[in-house]
């Protein structure tokens, strides 16, 4: 393997160029530009005003709480539901393809189509409410749209498949003999799950949580279509949108997106700290 030991040739390094250019142009430059904009006033002078205004304006500041109030519980529930389902399906179950199909469909349809569908299906005259009233569960239509529930359900439907598919891949990669070994040592299914499988799933759970949280925290179409974007469901992304495209203050909007990024990073750091506290050993030991 001499070739592997020598330094990569210049030609080989050149293969990296498209990826580097891509990252520079589409991530680093916009990010740096956004940061620069957030720290200047519309005239171009340095200013922290965009940030101080956000934190002083109660209507803007509370969007952090509103967005966390949607994204954290929804992500927790999505991951909490994905873990047992992935556990159940770890060795494959009959109809697995069908289940996967129905889980992947919401991802492919896109938020707008789902939200529109939910508006009709779950609306006051939708089938769901007709069913609820026909069954006598409620005399008046239950509100699932234009409120917290609508946004939460929509965000959850979007995020759950990601969490599930990621955790399924993770748990089915755990050597099945570990479960057998645990059982032979006297552990029942419950003990085996909590003492062996769950700790080994922690890295997967952490990643699934992070991805889901970031997606949910930047909720925008669901909040606009299924919530009350000017009222209780005024999420942080909507605040940024209003600054940019209603008040045409891109500097204030940039500051809000920087605040979003910081909050997301803080939550991710928190999750990763939990992960390293829970899981110290090496990664999954494969078979053979």
């Amino acid at each position: 393997m001499r070739a592997a030991l020598t330094r990569p040739k210049a030609g080989a390094m050149a293969l990296l160029v498209p990826a580097v250019v891509f990252i520079l142009l589409l991530f680093l430059y916009p990010f740096g530009y956004g940061l620069y904009m957030s720290l200047t006033d519309p005239g171009g002078a340095f200013s922290l005003g965009n940030y101080t205004r956000f934190f002083q304006d109660a209507r803007d500041f509370r969007t952090i709480g509103v967005t966390l109030g949607i994204s954290v519980p929804v992500t927790l529930i999505a991951v909490a539901l994905a873990v047992p389902l992935a556990y159940h399906m770890r060795r494959g179950v009959p109809g697995e393809r069908l289940i996967s199909f129905f889980l992947i469909v919401p991802v492919t349809l896109g938020t707008v189509l789902i939200s529109e569908g939910m508006l009709t299906f779950m609306g006051p005259n939708g089938w769901l409410n007709q069913l609820i009233m026909a069954l006598g569960l409620s005399k008046t239509p239950v509100r699932f749209t234009h409120n917290y529930a609508g946004v939460a359900i929509s965000v959850g439907l979007q995020g759950f498949p990601y969490a599930f598919l990621m955790l399924l891949g993770y748990i089915s990669g755990i050597n099945p003999d570990l479960e057998k070994a645990s059982q032979m040592l006297g552990a029942n299914k419950w003990q085996t799950f909590w003492k062996v499988l769950f700790p080994l799933m922690v890295p997967g759970i952490a990643i699934a949580f992070c991805l889901n949280f970031v997606m949910a925290f930047s909720v925008f179409p669901s909040a606009v279509l299924l919530g009350q974007p000017s009222g209780p469901q005024r999420v942080i992304a909507y605040a940024a949108y209003q600054w940019a495209f209603e008040k045409f203050n891109f500097n204030a909007a940039a500051a809000i997106s920087m605040i979003m990024a910081v909050i997301e990073l803080v939550v991710i750091a928190f999750i990763l700290a939990w992960r390293s506290k829970m899981y110290k050993g090496a990664s999954i030991v494969g078979k053979g």
Binding site: M184, L200, A282, G288
Partner: protein
């Protein structure tokens, strides 16, 4: 540990759909016995082991420990309550736990006191020579060390039955021999009733009190290592324990001489004398007699080591032409054909060197020749 005299498996069968993985498996395991399931891959040996642990539910049959029925295919004691220990080919250590936590895993489930857990883990690690490894993680250890941890993790619980599923197969040749010695020493010392699964006849011969040879889910032969090695019950077992030279032939004469059955067999390569020590009541004897009477063909089985290069007076001289010579250190492995009969292959070992294309005489003592009559159902020879 709950004491017992005998574990008995009666008519255990496992089907996966149409496929019968374990077919009517019946065997008694005495306390302190070391029994090996030996067979090629796909023979059902691992499935049989997993059925005994309860990890794979059985289709029919019963498993008893003395009078206590632990499985009758309808109701079964779950694996975690059987007090069996199992060691896996891939070690199956918990990667997120240290060596000490791995070994303590079962003890902690039994809610033992901290001091006792500490003491027993220490004892177990000392037993497998891993005293200084308590705080390491499995990924930081070699395969041999990991397998020792796995063994310690089982024996620390003093299981009623220890099951080892190809525990040495993932190790390199040198480690495999070392750990084999240790397993033997450990069994001598602890006397844990053990079932060992392997496809390696050397391991089976070295470790076992009794060997069970399996093929296609059926028991082919049960016996001591000596018995399996020198007196295989059928051509399959013979082939698996190293007999070669399976030549077809017809018995020309058959007579009782001094407690043995003396047969003269006409093969393509020549006339061969066989002195069979098949005793009265041995199904192989009846089959040979029947084959002689009906004129059916029989098959020989001779170990390459038992064919001696260099002429010998008397019978069973084979005139050979060497066409493949492999130097193997202690001897040469020679593949030859019989002069004038190219399709008859002879496999033998020779200390003196024979070169390619050279003609030489070889001979085999009649009592080293085994004969098998083709029987539709492979016979089972049991040694109680």
């Amino acid at each position: 540990m709950k004491d017992f005299k005998c574990i008995s498996v009666r008519g255990m069968t496992k089907r996966f759909g149409d496929k019968v993985a374990v077919d009517n498996f019946s065997l008694e395991f005495g306390k302190e016995e070391f029994v090996t399931f030996l067979g090629p891959s796909g023979c059902g040996k691992s499935t049989a082991l997993n059925c005994i642990t309860g990890l794979i539910p059985i289709t029919s049959g019963e498993i008893f420990i003395d009078d206590e029925c632990i499985d009758d295919a309808h109701r079964s004691v779950p694996p975690e309550k059987r007090e069996f220990g199992m060691v896996f080919q891939n070690y199956a250590l918990f990667p997120h736990l240290t060596v000490k936590e791995n070994v303590a895993f079962g003890l902690k489930l039994r809610k033992l006191g901290k001091a006792e857990v500490e003491r027993r883990v220490g004892d177990a690690l000392r037993l497998v020579h891993l005293e200084g490894y308590a705080s390491k993680f499995p990924a930081q250890m070699s395969g041999g060390e990991q397998q020792r941890v796995a063994i310690a993790r089982c024996i620390v619980l003093e299981p009623r039955l220890l099951l080892l599923d190809e525990p040495l197969s993932n190790l390199d040749a040198k480690l495999r021999v070392e750990l084999r010695y240790e397993l033997k020493a450990l069994h001598e010392r602890l006397k844990v009733t053990t079932i060992y699964v392997t496809h390696d006849q050397t391991e089976a011969l070295a470790l076992s009190d009794r060997i069970v040879v399996l093929r296609l889910g059926k028991i082919q032969q049960v016996g001591t290592p000596e018995r399996i090695f020198s007196d295989p019950a059928n051509p399959f077992v013979a082939d698996f324990v190293g007999f070669k030279n399976a030549w077809e032939g017809r018995i020309e004469s058959l007579e009782e001489k001094g407690g043995a059955l003396c047969a003269r067999v006409r093969t393509k390569g020549g006339l061969l004398e066989a002195r069979l020590s098949y005793s009265e009541g041995d199904p192989r004897r009846a089959d040979i007699v029947a084959a002689y009477k009906s004129g059916q063909s029989v098959t020989t089985a001779i170990r390459p080591e038992d064919i001696v290069a260099g002429a010998r007076s008397g019978s069973n001289v084979l005139r050979c032409i060497a066409d493949l010579v492999e130097y193997q250190g202690h001897a040469n492995s020679i593949s030859a054909c019989i002069k004038g009969c190219e399709e008859s292959r002879v496999d033998l070992r020779s200390v003196s060197s024979v070169s390619y294309g050279e003609s030489f005489d070889a001979s085999v003592a009649p009592d080293k020749v085994l004969l098998f009559a083709p029987s539709p159902e492979a016979p089972t020879v049991g040694v109680p």
